[in-house]
Amino acid sequence: MKSINRKIIRGILFLSYIIIISFVTYGLSALFGYLNTGADRSTMLHTEIKKVEQFLPKILWNANENEGRPMDEQTLSSIENDYLDAWYVKHCAYQTNTTTGIEDYYTKNARKNLYNIINKNIETGTTIRSTTLQHHPKLEFFSEDGHMVVITDKDVMEYKRVYKDKTLLLETKDLSTYKIIMLLEDGFWRIRHIVKTSNHDFKPNYKFISKEHIDIKGINYYPQASPWEVFGKKFDIDTITKDFKLIKETGLSSIRIFVPYESFGKANVDKDKLNKLTQVMDAAEAENLKVVLTLFDFYGDYSILNWTLNQRHAETIVSKLKDHNALLAWDIKNEPNLDFESRGKDLVLAWLRNTIDLVKSIDPTHPVTIGWSDIESAPLLKDKVDIITFHYYEDLNNLEKKYLDLKQDIPNKPIAITEFGVSSYKGLWNPFGKTEQDQADYYKQAQDIFSKNNMHYMSWTLYDFTEIPNEVTGMLPWRKTPQKYYGFINAQGVKKEAFRYIYNP
């Protein structure tokens, strides 16, 4: 008995010895491993590529031959890179009045000019937020030894906001022509001379689209299974086609869909998603439905240095779909007035104006609009858009008067309500909410107002949803839950009472 106890004690001692030793070994090896970490040797030469696209103005090279040595594509692309970077660091420098990056893209002599201006601006409390949206460079000359180029950059479209002591003094958008000499110095193409040779204010010239073509009786559409994420993994063109058939059968003639900015790949639009969008448009065309395409969904950063990225995004989508038969109008942004408080009203409006200019320059034939979140915001930028659109979730009894007032205010442009509706949720999170019957009454009343005043409308929305992404209403359940019950068809696929009033011939 005694010997067994001894054996047990011995065993325990033995095991604990092994455990302690293994802990010590582990500790030492972890320490050794830690000391051996640090910079990877391969990073010593800084050969890794860390390219983040942050500045992508539209750049169109004039293809004419240059004087001197013939240019090759690779050199031209490295010149273009460094040239645009030079503009980018300049915009950054004047925005913050710091000199970061200037050294890399301007030669010693050229830098002084920038530093002088920065010092002057620090002195007077001036900051300049600017970006260049378009460049039209022409290579004039390339030296035989490959170390110097002369470029004429024609009609550089520059947008500027000039602040003094943080107060906006001036907003300009102009076209300037520059002659530029760049030198190849230790691997960088640096600007040696810039001479501005011409300048005039930019005046967009495009025609407004006449109102006869526009007839909007429609609905906002998301598939039931994937609201706000139509083009993701759950994308199912068969479901969408079926839904479009259903919408068509009700008598409605148009739909409004959304293109999310980030998940579409920002500046580099995801080809796969763009194809899915085209499929949706094709499906709408097959059912003879017209589509209001809302761009920049879930985009909220309007900062000027981001504009070139936004414009590449819009450019890709608009160019791809501008000739599509199903296209009715471009809705530039959904409810941008909700960002006025956080981003500044005038910045958001400037962004909208510039984005409209861009969309119009690519697609002059389709109307543009902005889906304001309330009727009070609807007159904003009325001179820039072709259709005035707003969303109406307030008391229907006031709608008619407000609408007529607005119509009187803007008599020459069509006005459409692109979102309206009511949630049929009455429950724990909203005990005083509306029932499905209340919802039906609401739509009946709305349709009466619409037919009486011959109004354009798009309702929110076809389906009740089971999942709402947090980005839409936030995480709070008393906000999120009602959002699930705006549909004409409930989560089980049964048509609610309101469905009878989805359309009124």
């Binding site: 001197g68 030296s143 110097m148 040779t197």
Partner: protein
């Protein structure tokens, strides 16, 4: 009466307020540009003047080639003065301005021309060495700049001067797109080209361009040797003729010439040498047996030589082999050369050992003072009967059934 007085007072107040309103809006428009000049010269200072009828002092927005600044005015006798700061006024190019008055209507632009006096000649020249023959060229790019670093006006004349051997040249070019440039072609001769330029009396410093020979043309080769015996010891020198380019210029020193030697067994040996004064001189050691070498030289990818042949005579006519110490010590020699002198040390001697036609060992030794001794270790080669073969300068001697 009272009523009419009230009415009059009210009417007066009303009309005067209308007048006031009219006046104030008139005042805003009343700012007028006085400066009529739209072309200025860098460095002379610029003062933009406006007449004003009130005391408001609007800020001037001003944007040049490099950036944008805001300028506060000074007011004097109802004249607004905007002094453009030096670092803007000294910089050539277009300046556009806007007066940030409430109505925001006044805007304009003016041009600052460079001061047409050359202060520095920013010169870029390249490539620094070119090929003779009149096809290759170097390019001189000049940016004459004024004292403020502005490139001078387009169409300013620049004289490009260069000297080569006994000739001097002067060419006039005009500035275009901020630069003036000229291609300078080589001539048939090699040498150094001196280049400089001049604008408005200002001369650049001197730049030197090397005119290098063009690629070599085909050449001849020859050889030099002390004797033609295959003693494995003497050295033969292979020489090229003076290698020249197509214009007769001697090729650059250091042009590598490869000599390829093909022997009677079609093996290829190779030796190489760079040229000095156009001649490449490579060396190679004689073979140690009779042989015929065919030699051709190449400058890779550019030129080649004719083929020459060298014959090497056999020196060893025969030799003795003595077995001793139970046949375990084998002495080869004396090995004698062409005048019966002992051959120089280092001749290779091979001993092949066979057991029933199977090679079991090969021992290689070099001669020393005309002899070589092989000592066969009993631990490596046990006692038995072997066939042995000795090979010296391709002369073989076979001994059958040697008992160890």
């Amino acid at each position: 009466m009272r009523k009419t007085t009230y009415l009059l007072v009210i009417a007066f107040m009303f009309s005067s307020s209308i007048l006031l309103i009219g006046q104030s809006s008139d005042e805003e428009i009343a700012i007028k540009l006085l400066t009529t000049k739209t072309q200025f010269e860098a460095g002379l200072g610029i003062n933009l003047q406006f007449s004003t009828s009130n005391n408001s002092q609007p800020i001037l927005y001003c944007s040049n080639s490099y950036g944008t600044i805001l300028i506060e005015p000074s007011i004097e006798n109802k004249t607004l003065n905007y002094k453009i700061p030096e670092n803007i006024a000294n910089r050539s190019g277009l300046i556009n301005w806007k007066l940030l008055a409430n109505d925001n209507t006044l805007s304009g632009k003016f041009y600052i021309n460079p001061k047409q006096v050359a202060n520095t000649m920013e010169t870029y020249i390249g490539p620094p060495s070119i090929e003779a023959g009149g096809l290759d060229y170097t390019m001189l790019v000049v940016i004459p700049t004024d004292i403020y670093g502005n490139a001078l006006k387009d169409s300013t004349e620049v004289e490009v001067k260069h000297q080569f051997l006994s000739s001097e040249y002067r060419n006039m070019v005009r500035m275009h797109n901020l630069i003036a440039y000229k291609n300078l072609y080589s001539e048939t001769k090699t040498g150094r080209m001196l280049v400089s330029s001049e604008t408005l009396g200002k001369n650049s410093k001197e730049f030197v361009i090397d005119v290098q020979p063009a690629i070599p043309t085909n050449f001849n080769i020859s050889f030099k040797q002390n004797h033609n015996y295959a003693d494995g010891n003497q050295i033969t020198t292979l020489l090229s003729s003076i290698i020249r380019d197509k214009n007769g210029n001697i090729v650059s020193d250091g042009t590598l010439v490869d000599f390829f030697i093909t022997n009677r067994d079609k093996n290829i040996l190779r030796t190489s040498a760079p040229t000095i004064n156009g001649i490449a001189m490579a060396k190679t050691v004689h073979p140690d047996y009779e042989d015929i070498w065919k030699i051709k030289a190449y400058i890779e990818g550019m030129a080649e030589s004719d083929i020459i042949t060298i014959n090497f005579r056999q020196i060893i006519k025969g030799y003795d082999v003595v077995f001793s110490n139970n046949n375990r010590t084998i002495t080869v020699g004396p090995l004698q050369s062409f005048m019966d002198q002992m051959i120089p040390d280092g001749l290779q001697i091979k001993l092949h050992i066979y057991k029933d036609d199977t090679k079991i060992d090969m021992i290689l030794k070099e001669s020393f003072e005309g002899f070589t001794t092989f000592k066969l270790n009993p631990n490596e080669i046990p006692s038995d009967s072997y066939n042995m073969m000795i090979e010296v300068a391709k002369i073989e001697k076979t001994f059958k059934h040697v008992k160890l």
